[in-house]
Amino acid sequence: MSQQAQQTQIKRTVKRLSLIVIGMSAFAFALVPLYDLFCEITGLNGKTGGPYIYEEASVEPDRSRLVKVNFLTNTNEGMPWQFWPGKGAVRVHPGEAKTVSFFVKNTTSKPMVAQAIPSLVPISATEFFHKTECFCFEQQLLQPGEEVEMPMRFIVGRELPKNVGSINLSYALFDITDRVDMSTIQGNLVEDQLSTVGG
């Protein structure tokens, strides 16, 4: 092979390999949405879905089964708020809508914004745990010393696997004050919170 022809071939190889490198760099970032999609389909990371649209009349509760739902709350490291469930656990029939309350209190002397992140075990129950209303769909802005009651309305789907007798739903509360622009959210969030929570 002549020197020239070899150089051309080397250039072609390098170009192709560079395309692989670029492609794999893009793939690394594509893994983020792919992971979210995968978790949404499988319920893999225990994150429950967004608001569930539900018509009361269409579902007949399964009176033959009772499922225990345990509620756990914790605040992330460095988050000074108090956060506790109204009841530690409730028993529900699959298909039956239930409303429970959670409470938060801003124990500091400055306004703060918080976000609750759900996590559910067993993973096999994740896709059957529906929430029609949840404080975790929004962010909470609390004034110094303010305490609010936050409702959460949920339905355990009738299709819940037979071997699941109890479900643990955990909420971790994160301080996101630094992440939100206070001036833009102040108005609607406060109103939103006050109107839903009622004080």
């Binding site: 071939q9 080397i10 390999l17 690394a28 976000q115 996101i176």
Partner: protein, 534 residues
Amino acid sequence: MSEVIHADHHDDHAHGPEKGLKRWLFTTNHKDIGTLYLWFSFAMFLIGGVLALVIRAELFQPGLQFVQPEFFNQMTTNHGLIMVFGAIMPAFVGLANWLIPMQVGAPDMALPRMNNLSFWILPFAFGMMISTLFMEGGGPNFGWTFYAPLSTTYAPPSVTYFIFAVHLMGASSIMGSINIIATILNMRAPGMTLMKMPMFVWTWLITAYLLIAVMPVLAGAVTMMLFDIHFNTSFFNAAGGGDPVMFQHIFWFFGHPEVYIMILPAFGIVSHIIPAFARKRLFGYTSMVYAVASIAFLSFIVWAHHMFTVGMPLAGQLFFMYSTMLIAVPTGVKVFNWISTMWRGSMTFETPMLFAIAFVVLFTMGGFSGLMLAITPVDYQYHDTYFVVAHFHYVLVPGALFSIIAAVYFWFPKWTGKMYDETLGKIHFWLSFVGVNVTFFPQHFSGLAGMPRRIPDYPLQFADFNMISSVGAFIFGLSQVFFLYVIIKSIRSGQPAEGRSWEGAKGLEWTLPSPAPYHSFTHPPVVKDEEVLG
């Protein structure tokens, strides 16, 4: 006749090595760059070894003796990072630089200037990473796997240096790999078909593809860390909708192929040494090539076996368990082929052969403990214990590292034109062999009994095993200083070596005189059948 005269005339004008420091700074010669890589990796190996000895000194007895837990964490983290990215990987790239052009009959690497760049990036990368140990707040302390949020929210301020160091290492590896693939695919001597290539060349070809596939993913992972730390994104932060578990998936999507990046070239080296000292052809050459290719493919679909305990559906656990166990099949093919190569061979046991045989035996043991870890239900017990430490050190130290040492002894005469001292080589082997087993074998037991890894203190029940382990570590560490002595002594006063330094050695590199001339195969050689490995 006139052509011969012309060739001689041309050689007189060929550039020999420059004198002094400039030779090494500006060199584009594959042999010089190979030498630079090898010495650099040896320096990193000694630094990483010192960190390991700090760990073993602290663990000699229960309680805190020498270092504080914060510093201990930096030692485990940097030991791992330096050994993986600074010692093992550059050593293999150095061997590739020295050997691949000679083994395929090419005059040099395909892209000699890029070759220079990919080496000279490395001292800066590691200089930057190691300098963080002396900064306020300390260096990386989150384990070599740098799981978020340890490496983001809770990281020391110096983490940005670490991130850019990893970027540089990645860039160096990617450039090196592109160079190696371009050389192998385009510059083989006429007649050297793919299935006649030496095994070291084959394994490096596949390794280089693994590197360009996963190094960008590693770069992506550290870039996401950088964004989370400095630009308020939430890739790995649950509060902003991210997920720390995703970090582990992305990391191990890189990390598992990385494990094979560190062992496939070792398979290649051993496939040269065992036939040479058994004086037989390599048994099952074709199956060896396909086994390496299958291991490389499987490495992409087993990553989650590193993270069985994060919570995963049963189907996922079963998939990753079975796909992991499947790797034992091609690996078994390779081990049996090496044994069959030795079977009824006229074996002699020079130092490279001793290291190669120890590789086969001890790597197989590391493989078996890997199979135990692959069993999901028991992995819940073994996860993050010293059993894991014992497992991966068995595949990396008497695995990857022994193969590199074997390669150094095996090709030493070709590189330097001198023979090493056989007696000293054998002493080095036996010290290393005893040292490595005394260090790591007891860790299986402490791990099975539940001793967690990366912790500077432990309950009294683990005291004996840890003391034995520490004694072994110091034997092993000092025997590598002895290795340095053997090498320097042999370079200075070794006996002159023949072109074909080993009776049974095959391959184009052995048709060259020893030491190999600065410019070799400027005209492509004829590939004769008796020089083909398989």
